[in-house]
Symmetry: C3
Subunit: 368 residues, 3 copies
């Protein structure tokens, strides 16, 4: 007898196509709670607790049993038990339980978290690198001589073993305005200005556009942060519809729209409109917790089923690498069971779409 849809969703090994490292050294409770709040860039107010959010509730519901606690364990109890285990032990428990065969790891922002080698050594799945274009630029500007040559050399080196590149343009001015490729002269001039300024952070639009197009020209899939993130970004300027002109001209390099909240329907439209555009709901699913089922439903609107990907976007607490998987499995099961119960989809189609999103699309896209 064929397994039920629910059994199939539980069993499938995922490809987590966008994640970061998990913590390697112990943190205090404030740091833990702040890591459960994505948008705020300040310490949480004294009256608040990140445990009293959808993500906090999801941690207590789904992660507590992996720490040998009952589901819904109180926050204090959860925290107490968490401090009894090393980060290595936590990482091993949560990452194993995620049932992920391959992690694509963005190494662009990695302070205090495991690097790909450390992750690989945990034997919880294969590890592949995603290179952040802005980090390449920020490294190139510190090298003497020709910025363009330095950027190209660094990118070639790093990309040789990477499966994708990523841009956080969303955080560096957003998507509104000209995103065409600048001329060499413009790049040279902008690089000089930046070098002279002594600022380590890349915010110059000319150089951001340069990096984006160098990324495109590489031909490897280009991941783009879209929507939900911390408040440094002007969220309204990260509506992916502002990418329309860019996408109309960017050729065939696959472009993956990450996170997307609250623009997931717009992102799905773009995935239908362009052969090379993909969508992913990582980060958002974790933060919506019990509400992620509705978000997963909205990801299944206009986007063709061969253009939707899974990720956790876990960063910091290993809980996030596991929860992404747990909540996606719960959510996609409930959405697809609904379609089947209504007579709109067959069970066989539902199983097939689970496989596409869980791993087949990523296998095809990244060639891993």
């Amino acid at each position: 007898m064929s397994p039920s849809l629910a059994e199939h969703v539980e069993a499938v090994a995922l490809i987590d196509q966008h994640a970061h490292g998990c913590w390697v050294t112990p943190v205090d409770r404030n740091r833990f709670e702040n890591a459960l709040n994505e948008a705020n860039t300040e310490p949480l107010a004294a009256f608040d607790s990140a445990f009293d959010t959808q993500l906090g509730f999801a941690v207590r519901t789904h992660c507590a049993p992996l720490l040998d606690l009952p589901a819904h364990a109180p926050a204090d109890e959860y925290w107490r038990r968490r401090t009894e285990l090393s980060e290595a032990e936590l990482a091993h428990r949560f990452l194993s339980a995620a049932n992920v065969s391959d992690w694509l790891v963005d190494t662009g922002f990695a302070t205090g978290v495991a690097d790909p080698h450390t992750l690989a050594a945990m034997s919880v799945g294969r590890v592949h690198e995603v290179v952040r274009l802005e980090s390449i630029a920020e490294q190139a500007i510190r090298m003497p001589g020709d910025f363009i040559a330095a950027f190209d050399t660094l990118l070639a080196e790093r990309a040789a073993t990477a499966v994708a590149v990523k841009s956080i343009l969303a955080y560096r001015g957003g998507f509104v305005g000209d995103l065409s490729e600048p001329t060499e002269a413009e790049v040279v001039e902008a690089a000089e200005r930046w070098r002279d300024s002594g600022r380590p952070r890349l915010t110059d639009r000319v150089l951001l556009r340069f990096g984006l197009h160098r990324g495109l020209q590489l031909g490897k899939p280009l991941q783009l942060h879209v929507g939900f993130g911390d408040r440094d970004a002007d969220l309204h300027t990260t509506n992916p519809l502002y990418l329309l002109d860019f996408l109309r001209r960017c050729g065939r390099t696959p472009v993956i729209l990450l996170h997307c909240y609250p623009f997931e329907r717009e992102a799905g439209y773009l995935a239908q409109a362009f052969n090379n555009v993909y969508v992913d709901g990582g980060l958002t699913i974790n933060h919506l917790g019990a509400r992620s089922v509705d978000f997963i439903g909205r990801l299944l609107e206009l986007a063709p089923f061969r253009k939707i990907l899974y990720s956790s976007d876990g960063f910091g607490p290993a809980e996030l690498h596991y929860l992404g998987s747990r909540l996606w499995r719960n959510g996609v099961r409930r959405v697809l069971e609904g379609f089947v119960a209504a007579g709109e989809w067959s069970r066989g189609d539902a199983v097939r779409v689970v496989d596409l999103i869980a791993r087949q699309n990523a296998l095809r896209l990244y060639g891993i």
Copy 2:
């Protein structure tokens, strides 16, 4: 005993207040699949299939039985069976099964599809014409002499037997900016510029605004493409809220907002805010397939129930003319059954709202 809500929804004959012709000659599979993708303007990628989308699944679920296949028949089988039937036979099967008493047909873009006479000859419902304002302008510019007089003469001729006019301003620069009526001098000058350019396609804002206001002055309902469509439009500039100034000044002519995704809640707001504004979810419902039930729910938020209309926006494959009806019936039944089950609506009110949207509102609005 009164029929159940479900029986009532099945039985009601619809007025499809915005559709196009269906194909009259056979197509190949690529053309068929591309016709199931609204947003993309290029051939689908080799790795993709329009059958693996919500619309594709809905075709296999609901249209297969009309081709004597089981629901959810595999894509290849569906396609094979479809090629065994003539387009006339397909059209007859699907259009009859839609149970539509009146089709309002936009004749503005009609390459390769049935014209109103052909549709009427199929005896699957009465046919009424909707005249596209941009097509009138593109015809007028090819006539010698005074553009304004030519436009007015053509519009008067075409509108004499039409029930409504339509504008695709959304595709010609969107809604952002001045939408007031231009002066005669501005129109004359813009028409000269256009005629001299030799370009057949109307993109000049002055002339688009001219046509829009000529349409308004006619007093017949004015249908406006809003939101979802192909990627030639800048989707973010088709947010109907950009029409606020226009609507504040456009008088009493009814304005119907078509499609509306992902701005259906904004469109519903406008239907509450203006006595002459109506909303319609055609096109979107087909493309959302199993997810259209949620969209139909969102159409039932701020819009007064006497301001909501049904359409399929079917164009090309006759499947679309049927699916619009099938999915709307399924969706509205599920949404309203939910309201009744929760004790929020009475069954009698639900039946009445079905009738309003299915046909009463359109009867009143178009006087047919």
Copy 3:
């Protein structure tokens, strides 16, 4: 045995953190129906009826029993019965049934409705005042001499006994553009211009910004109209994401985003991003009626549970003060029962979140 979640939701006394007065003198049916349409600023069209909307259906469903009619009583019957009762009797019935312990009353727009003293005299809960900043300015400009001094004096007097201030900047140009504090010289000049114009209504951006910052500096919670309201506002300019720069610089004064439709997900993001930002779904919940359950679900996405508030935004018909409570109780019960049934939340957590939104957050925020 502990009460069920449903029993708990029914029993909890609410703090209605944003309401207005209810009518004190009889109205005719046209005025009643127009009061059920928030967005339209003209009389409803002859073919339309505000009873045929989600709000109208909710009135017939939930308010009819309080007028000794069966639920879903026909509109004519509802209206006939309503005219048999005095506004005082209507107010007493509806306001008592709301089970509200504290009403925070915006006194800025109060023509024809009960003032706080009249409401307090009804003994249906404690009454607290919310002072509207634009009203202070419009009063100050009519006083001779120094505008700034007059504004400060009036604000200090009114705020002495008020629990919060409110701005309707959304209606006076929206949120796009500079919202920094103007210099004293700029304020003096703008005030002179305004005084000379003789116009009673404040629309000058310099003075609006001045009032907003004076409100902030007071330190009491600042309520902001966001999104849904009448069509005088350009709805797209009231997206709260346009407040990002303002919020990044506004310090620690609590800012409460009211109504929020269709931007409730954006508002929830801001509540996560800033320690001092809160969200509220008043007004919207009434107007969505049977659909408010989905809206309440969306309010429970990114916003931390200690940052969500309840209000009705009732104004005019006393039905609205009751319906807000009725629909919120129904909606939050259904949403949270769904979370519990899915195993995502514990029943105890659900009860606790009900208490937070119903009253604990408001108690902490307003210190009442």
